[in-house]
Amino acid sequence: MRVLVVEDNEELAHLLAQGLKAEGYEADLLTTVAEARAAVTTTRYAALVLDLGLPDGDGLSILREIRQRKDPIPVLVLTARGGVHDRVSGLRSGADDYLVKPFALEELVARLEALLRRPGQLLGRSLQVANLAFDTESRQAFIDEKPQVLSARETAVLELLMRRKDRVVSKKLVEDHIFGLSGEVASNAIEVYVHRLRKQLSERGAKVQIHTIRGVGYLIAEEKNQ
């Protein structure tokens, strides 16, 4: 799978390319807005990793052009500025996700993978956390590759959490996702589903942990052996 990396610092660009290669991606490296503009119009890439501070302009300008053409290519923005304002303007311009420097290479790969697993993107539909896998096409969970039977709502909660592994999924988002606009949600309904899901996963030997961030939401992560 070919990914375009636009980053003006050549050393960093090479390190990123190396890291991506180790994970099975091919990376093309470009350093300027002009080159990147030419490349995205002539070649179809699986994803674009875009640094915002480029020598001949702002990376956001390419991003806006791509979105104006209705090109659905997933774009992961790298930025040295982590302010809310900078992030919001990046996302508004059409970025799918952003990473603030300095980031870990594995974080970059994980985010990229999450983008590529979105519907319509190139990577297989299987989400993975430790020995727990989730196929987004058949909506089937696997523990150690053995299919598991979960209720429809437990499945929906699990999918949401796994799409954003290691990141908080707000309770509000889970509520909206599970119940939609269909009506009143019992105040502890989500907690009940998460509790049941947690119990079932641990009983069936999944090495994952669903953390409750009280007042905020939930987060799924690999189980830590303390």
Binding site: N9, L12, G83, V168, I213, R214, G215
Partner: protein, 451 residues
């Protein structure tokens, strides 16, 4: 002298003074002009009358003076009419002819002057005003006196003068007031460009340094001021731009090498070493972020119109900090109100303040602890940790730049709380800290709620 803040009230005040003075002196002046004009007219008329009477005065060869007035003139001077009187006096002051019943002179005999003279006298109710002029014939001189009773009902011209105030003089006041009102309108219109320029100037703040005062319609007297202000703004904007560019460049220049370092460490075979190095980089990255925050805070000013939902900000900070806490075996929780809590403020800066408090709380709490964020409806945010708490003598010190309790601890430059303090000051909020009875510290940010 009263001092006025506004040019407008100064002009109006001076204008009112001028109106009052004019309202007093203009009628007086007019009255005086009118009166002297009336006098001149009367004097001229009397002089002509005297000349006329003198024409009918003839010196007989026998040396006797004879006055033969035509009937029309006799009627005019008749006592029945009573308005005019004449008398003719000789050199010695003896009355030769007189229209008055006792043959008395119109004006006293000692008033005989060498030439034409205007005179005034009172005779009973009558106020006589007239002229005396000499007439010469064959070396002998007589004086002709003609007078008019100004108190007589047929004398209109004097009535006009007397009635001037009542009938005409008052009109000056409304005219002046009308002029004053018109001038107020004119001044307002003339000052409008200045008012507009002030309104433009009010919009200028560090975020809107592009605003300039429009020189259009500005009076030429004020134009140099407007241009000077605009030039000062140009320099100010350049200063702010340099500062902003510096922060952006510095962020890029500092964070990119850190990313490179981090990526290189990922390629190390020794996982133990790379884990330790990662921690070092986290610490450096945090210090870099804080230094950049401080640089950015130098140009911070809060747009009064800006509003932020502090409850949403706390939720965002908790979401952001949760993976960090979990990675250290700690947790985080958000409680308090579920409703939005709107404040006047910059959400970016508020996020940074609360994030610094939360990151501190996570770092100082032991593994297994939960950091609690409590948002109160009244606009107060508490961040509770389970750390060692704050000693009384450190309470003030902790908000100073680069202060650290434990200098041996790396990955912290003691900047976090000074950033919190700066941001709180910019929002007119109060930062306070107290120790919890159950152990640990409670940091509070108290804001005023948006109106």
């Amino acid at each position: 002298m009263i001092s006025f803040k506004s040019i407008f009230s100064r002009i109006i005040f001076l204008h009112v003074i001028v109106v009052v003075i004019t309202a007093i002196f203009m009628p007086l002046g007019l009255y005086w002009f009118l009166k002297s004009a009336a006098n001149d007219l009367q004097h001229q008329a009397m002089r002509e009358q005297a000349d006329l009477v003198a024409n009918y005065l003839v010196l007989r060869p026998n040396g006797q003076w004879e006055l033969d007035l035509p009937p029309a003139l006799q009627d005019l001077y008749s006592q029945a009419y009573g308005r005019y009187a004449y008398a003719v006096l000789d050199n010695s002051g003896k009355v030769l002819f007189s229209s008055l019943k006792d043959d008395s002179p119109v004006f006293s005999a000692d008033a005989l002057a060498s030439g034409v003279a205007f005179m005034q006298t009172r005779k009973g109710k009558a106020a006589l005003s007239g002229v005396s002029l000499p007439k010469e014939s064959a070396g002998r001189t007589v004086w002709v006196q003609v007078g008019e009773d100004l108190a007589h009902r047929d004398v209109i011209i004097d009535d006009i003068v007397a009635d001037f105030f009542k009938r005409v003089g008052w009109i000056t006041l409304p005219i002046l007031l009308f002029l004053l009102a018109i001038d107020i309108v004119i001044f307002r219109r003339a000052l409008r460009p200045l008012v507009n320029a002030s309104e433009m100037a009010q919009k200028i703040n560090p975020k809107r340094t592009d605003v300039r005062l429009s020189p259009e319609k500005i009076p030429s007297e004020i134009l140099p001021l407007v241009q000077a202000v605009n030039q000062a703004l140009d320099r100010l904007e350049a200063g702010f731009r340099v500062q902003r560019e510096f922060t952006a460049d510095a962020a890029h220049e500092l964070r990119t090498p850190l990313t490179i370092l981090r990526s290189r460490i990922d390629t190390l075979a020794d996982r133990g070493t790379s884990k330790a190095l990662h921690r070092d980089i986290e610490g450096m990255a945090r210090i870099v972020s804080q230094l950049l925050d401080i640089a950015e805070l130098e140009t911070l000013s809060i747009d009064p119109a800006e509003k932020a939902d502090v409850r949403a900000i706390c939720a965002e900070v908790a979401e952001f900090a949760a993976p960090l806490a979990l990675a250290q075996g700690k947790s985080i929780a958000l409680s308090g109100t579920d409703e939005p809590v709107w404040l006047n403020g910059n959400s970016e800066m508020l996020t940074r303040a609360i994030r610094n408090l939360v990151e501190n709380a996570i770092n100082y709490s032991p593994p297994g602890a939960t950091v609690e964020i409590v948002v109160e409806e009244g606009g107060k945010v508490d961040v509770l940790d389970q750390g060692p708490g704050i000693k009384d003598d450190e309470r003030e010190l902790i908000f100073q730049r680069f202060w650290r309790r434990d200098r041996r601890r790396s990955g912290s430059a003691g900047l976090g709380l000074s950033i919190v303090q700066r941001i709180a000051d910019a929002h007119a909020a109060i930062v306070s800290v107290e120790n919890r009875p159950t152990g640990g510290a409670k940091f509070s940010l108290s804001f005023a709620r948006a109106t």
